[in-house]
């Protein structure tokens, strides 16, 4: 360092600053708050403060009937409501010994995978927006709008679906809707390539994300990081393949994992690109389902007063934010004794404290966006 500069710097007083980021900060994805201790632009730590969106969904589960709880599960993660429906219904079905109709299973998979595309579009779109690229966000939302239209056609709702019911699905998918879904996929697959040209292989974007906040495999296990975030660390683990449920074993799809192609294994870029690749896989799955869609009823006959025998079960589904677990306890009555929802965002959030040490403040935004944490899912 220059001698004059050094002498000027001597005696300057610096101290750590404590800043509150959120809960209204636009890049904290809902209402999250961080208490950040910084030394200039470098963070000492970022302590997450959650709970702003706590709606006691688990307690409500003890007060309403089994059928009546399904709409509440929507609200656990409103960007991917279908998966919470699926998880709770699977738990109830396994407890009560209900067989889902085959057409119902296929309808579920179609709806879920479309929902995954919509959720990942939000994830990658807001990711780009958070770090300063607004255009890709608009493109992503435009595509998601079409998925929302399709969802409206399937079940009448655009965000909180209440589509999957115990025993099957609420409404059958009509042939016209199938055609429209195919049209959408034909249109959407080239869009992903366009999106890649626009954003994924953009030099500025890559430089901004590569090597930022890599998660090691050990940390991922210790903190139970799940879903795309886990796969970005190079762990090939997907509930759909490894603890199979529904009709996923009959379908062919790849499981994209992070490779560290642009930086370090498990960095922000890997977490981003895994989601892009997953959207393409979801398209494949929906196409196969549309081809294989069998005839028959969409929902099995289930007693209106649904009373599963006493027992407990833990069910996992692969939601867009990873392993969503439903731990449901029945005491043989009309109401669940306890419903516990274990979500991917909650555990991902617990890791931020550790990862944030020594990061730049601007990189914290990239880290939060890359983990795709979602406030309603953390707080439930």
């Amino acid at each position: 360092m220059d001698e004059t500069l050094r002498s000027e710097g001597e005696g300057l007083h610096t101290e750590d600053m404590t800043i509150s980021m959120g809960p209204q900060h636009p890049s904290t994805h809902g209402v999250l708050r961080f208490v950040i201790k910084t030394d200039g632009e470098v963070m000492r730590e970022a302590i997450p403060d959650v709970g702003y969106l706590h709606r006691s969904i688990e307690k409500i589960g003890e007060k309403v009937t089994w059928h009546g709880y399904v709409p509440y599960t929507d609200r656990a993660d409103y960007l991917a409501a279908m998966f919470a429906n699926q998880g709770f219904c699977m738990a109830a079905e396994r407890l009560g010994g209900v067989e889902v109709t085959r057409r119902g299973e296929f309808c579920r998979v179609i709806a879920c995978e479309l929902n995954r595309i919509a959720s990942h579009l939000i994830a990658v779109g807001t990711f780009a927006q958070d770090i300063g690229a607004v255009t890709p966000f608009i493109h992503a939302l435009r595509e998601r709008e079409t998925v929302n239209d399709l969802m409206e056609e399937i079940c009448g709702a655009r965000l909180t679906y209440n589509y999957i019911r115990i025993g099957g699905v609420g409404y059958d998918i009509t042939p016209q809707t199938c055609d429209r879904i195919t049209q959408f996929l034909d249109h959407f697959e080239p869009i992903v390539d366009e999106f890649n040209r626009l954003l994924s292989y953009n030099k500025i974007f890559i430089e901004r994300l590569a090597h930022v906040a890599p998660i090691t495999k050990e940390d991922a296990f210790q903190y139970n990081i799940v879903g795309p975030n886990l796969r970005a660390c190079g762990v090939k683990w997907d509930i759909r393949r490894d603890i199979p449920y529904s009709v996923y074993p009959e379908l062919e799809f790849d499981i994209p994992v992070g490779t560290g192609e642009k930086g370090t294994l498990g960095d922000c870029y890997d977490r981003y690109i895994v989601r892009i690749l997953e959207m393409q896989e979801s398209c494949k799955i929906v196409r196969q389902c549309l081809k294989m869609l069998p005839k028959g009823p969409a929902i099995a006959k289930v007693a209106r007063k649904f009373k599963p025998p006493a027992g407990e079960i833990y069910v996992r589904v692969e939601a867009p934010r990873g392993d969503m677990g439903f731990y449901v306890v029945s005491d043989g009555s009309e109401y669940p004794y306890r419903v516990r929802i274990r979500t991917g965002s909650f555990t991902a959030m617990s890791l931020i404290d550790k990862l944030s040490r020594g990061l730049m403040v601007a990189d914290l935004i990239a880290l939060i966006a890359s983990l795709d944490v979602d406030a309603p899912e953390i707080d439930r």
Binding site: E62, F221, G311, Y314, D323, G325, T347, S350
Partner: protein, 168 residues
């Protein structure tokens, strides 16, 4: 490994501390002595034939009739693709168990949530604060006998039923 095998290994390593195997239900279930839970957890994680790398979930159940709280641990092994559920019985008045934080770090937040909603104290926890509710909230909402406080910060927690309002 099958539930029976896991049970046999635990029985051999911790005689008298593990009991009540139920493998007829979907998830094999074991009752573990509250004193031994951390040791059992560490053993299950490190044993080369078991390798439970992850703590999938940690939660609690309240049974006021039997006067007990249960803390429930769901473990899973990516290597061997087996799972096991551990349960610990605690008294409702003085619910206290050692923290699992030293074995799986994710337990930190899970335990804070259980402390927040059930009032179970985790001995040796590094940062045991409420996580979802405000610091000054009264009571533990997920307990079965929970009564909501009438007001919080001067705001009433009561709300007239919507239907009655419409009928009026």
């Amino acid at each position: 490994m099958e539930a029976k095998g896991i049970y046999a290994r635990l029985e051999q390593r911790f005689p008298g501390k593990v009991s009540g195997l139920k493998d007829a239900v979907a998830d094999p279930l074991l009752m573990v002595d509250a004193q031994a839970i951390v040791e059992v957890g560490r053993f299950l994680r490190d044993e080369p034939e078991l390798r439970f790398e992850i703590l999938s979930d940690l939660t609690a159940l309240d049974f006021p009739k039997e006067e007990k709280l249960q803390v429930v641990y769901h473990l899973y092994s990516y290597t061997f693709r087996h799972q096991v559920v551990l349960k610990v019985d605690l008294s409702r008045e003085a619910a206290c168990v050692s923290t699992m934080e030293g074995v799986w770090k994710v337990a930190n937040w899970f335990e804070r949530e259980v402390f927040d909603l059930f009032g179970v104290v985790f001995d040796g926890h590094s940062d045991l604060r409420r996580i979802l509710l405000p610091e000054d909230w009264e009571g533990y909402p997920l307990r079965k006998d929970y009564v909501e406080q009438e007001e919080y910060d001067g705001i009433s927690t009561e709300r007239a039923p919507l239907v009655e309002k419409l009928l009026r």
